[in-house]
């Protein structure tokens, strides 16, 4: 008895149109699947899409394990923009109600509480209490510091936010925050493939940003940064977007960050977050900042820069159950192997995942810190 798979010619066309990719570029070498840190059978997903097998493709729930890290794109010999294709599959998958049920929870969270973590709106700016930061809606400031949801609500990650806010104040940067009015950047919505609510959210944010009169928006999370830089301009007029390491690196160059000399020796290794590195080519800036800190010596892990091993947090993975060993487990062991005592990074998801991984793996002598925290420490700024 033959099992016949249904071919839908429009499906392949739709995936091509949405991703802007020539699906036929992929010649099925399988290097993508081999390099995927999340175990997604990338080759098979593209193959079944090429063949127009909509139901078969969307029935593959591994599609939802992709962390959108772009490692597959780095290794693809034909330069296929694979994340674009997978994104198209997720959009169609969401439409057809084939997305994992649990991903409806962060969507509701953003819709009702302006964040996917079910934090209460009134608590969003608690981290800023007594710091006297400008309200961007009321007083015009040069920069809008966009904090993001994780860095606003999570007590551990709030340390990063406070560190950065204080560093910026010390450097006399004119910045303001939206505080309780800040709404999610929409990164998780985008990666779940929902487009209706995303459009409303982005349009509202674009209006809010314009109202502040700020020249540019600075993000703490590379995920927010990527949304503002790459996705928002598709919806309307968006002010320039930077990741905070770009600013701090500039300040390092201009000697605007008063460092306090120290006898402390810091052996630091830097993990390149996917959304800074592979997405936007930002590799040197954060390293320059770290190298400029008193007492710091840098080491490199295996799989660094464009080969950096993803922490497994992007693409909605923070809401998915982990399937056995996460790549973050391997990464913290690489950090230990590099001889570093500090694993530095510049993404809140990476910080969370590496701290969890260090606990799980029983790694005791490795401190996970965000670049902003290390800078604040070197400036002897109280956080």
């Amino acid at each position: 008895m033959k099992t016949v798979l249904k071919e839908e010619p429009d499906f392949a066309k739709r995936v091509r149109d949405m991703s802007g990719e020539m699906l036929s570029l992929c010649y099925q070498c399988g290097t993508c699947t081999a390099s995927c840190p999340m175990g997604v059978p990338v080759r098979r997903l593209i193959r079944s899409s090429q063949l127009g097998l909509k139901d078969f493709t969307l029935a593959n729930c591994d599609l939802w394990n992709c962390a959108t890290c772009k490692l597959c794109e780095t290794t693809c010999p034909r330069g296929v923009q694979i994340t674009g294709i997978l994104h198209a599959l997720r959009v169609i998958g969401y439409e057809e109600k084939k997305s994992p049920k649990k991903l409806d929870e962060p969507l509701w969270g953003v819709y009702e509480d302006a964040n996917p973590w079910r934090g209460k709106k009134g608590d969003r700016a608690k981290w800023a209490e007594s710091l006297g930061i400008k309200d961007a809606e009321k007083s015009k400031a040069k920069y809008l510091l966009y904090v993001g949801c994780a860095a606003s609500f999570d007590p551990r990650l709030q340390k990063i936010t406070r560190s950065l806010a204080k560093v910026l104040s010390e450097a006399d940067v004119d910045f303001g925050i939206l505080g309780e009015k800040e709404n999610c950047c929409g990164d998780v919505i985008y990666h779940i493939g929902e487009e209706g609510f995303l459009e409303e959210l982005v349009q509202n944010n674009l209006k809010e940003f314009e109202k502040t009169g700020a020249e540019a928006v600075i993000s703490i999370s590379p995920h927010c940064f990527n949304m503002f830089k790459s996705v928002y301009p598709k919806y309307g007029k968006m002010i320039p977007a930077y990741h905070y390491t770009e600013l701090l690196s500039e300040f390092m160059d201009k000697d605007l960050l008063p460092m306090v000399p120290s006898d402390d020796k810091l052996t630091v290794t830097y993990h390149d977050p996917c959304y800074l590195g592979r997405y936007h080519g930002i590799y040197e800036g954060p390293r320059k900042i770290l190298e400029g800190l008193p007492g710091a010596s840098m080491t490199e892990m295996t799989d660094n820069k464009s080969n950096a091993l993803c922490c497994g947090g992007g693409g909605g993975q923070m809401w998915m159950e982990s399937i056995g060993e996460r790549p973050s487990h391997q990464r913290v062991l690489q950090a230990v192997d590099s001889g570093a005592s500090i694993l530095a990074t510049s993404c809140p998801y990476c910080v969370q995942n590496f701290e969890d991984a260090a606990k799980t793996k029983g790694v005791l002598n490795l401190q996970v810190m965000d670049v902003a925290e290390i800078v604040a420490k070197s400036m002897k700024v109280e956080v």
């Binding site: 409806d104 969507l107 819709y111 709106k121 009134g122 209706g196």
Partner: protein, 260 residues
Amino acid sequence: MKQVVCLKVTPKIEQLKFDEVKKTMIREGVENEINEADKNALEMSLSVRDKLGGQVVVLSMGPPAFDPYLKLAIAMGADDAILLSDRAFAGADTYSTSLVLATAVKKISDYDLIFCSEASSDGSTEQVSPSIAAWLGVPLISYVGNMSVNDGRVQAKRIIRGGYEVIETTLPALLSVELGCNTPRFPDFRRKRWAEKEFKTTVWGINDLGLSPNEVGLEGSLTSVNELRHMRSPQRRKEFLTGEPKQVAAKLAEIIRNTA
């Protein structure tokens, strides 16, 4: 298969403040939401419709300001929405609230299943759903976690102390649904935009339900509120213990031994 889902729009509890002087709840500026457990009830109903077909009607008693939330329920997939709105309905306790809702369900007629939440996040009485069942004379299965319909009978699983039980009854029946027992589906925003532009919520007032003023709202209530009070908080020491984990642990162990 016709299903009715009762919905309540509740204030976001964390935004409510208690006016110590006036002894009332301050409701200005407080955002509303669909009562979370009602979303679970609606999801359960929609899942039944996905399998067995038919219609899901959402029903809510409240002011016209509730309409956007009924449209949100339409966007989630409900087929029709009815708002029971009338000044006479205001100030109702669970008795008169349940009477109004039950009368509306009777008017909808020919229903197979009625879904309610186990409780609303503000009042939390857990009384409205069993009261509606009593008015209608339909069997009640309460605190349902999941269920299925087969051959005109419904089987529902509920948690009981130490375990669970599965109850069966014939249709029509009323099920009250446990908070958090499922993941409510996120609204379809294209459908939401259509609902906001094109869909007309049916509004029934006291005359449409054939009720009289002394049966509904404050007048029809059998209970009344004397006053609102802050719960007395016990005096706590709030003593912070500091030190290395080992030191703190030693101090805690001492305290534990002394309370034995």
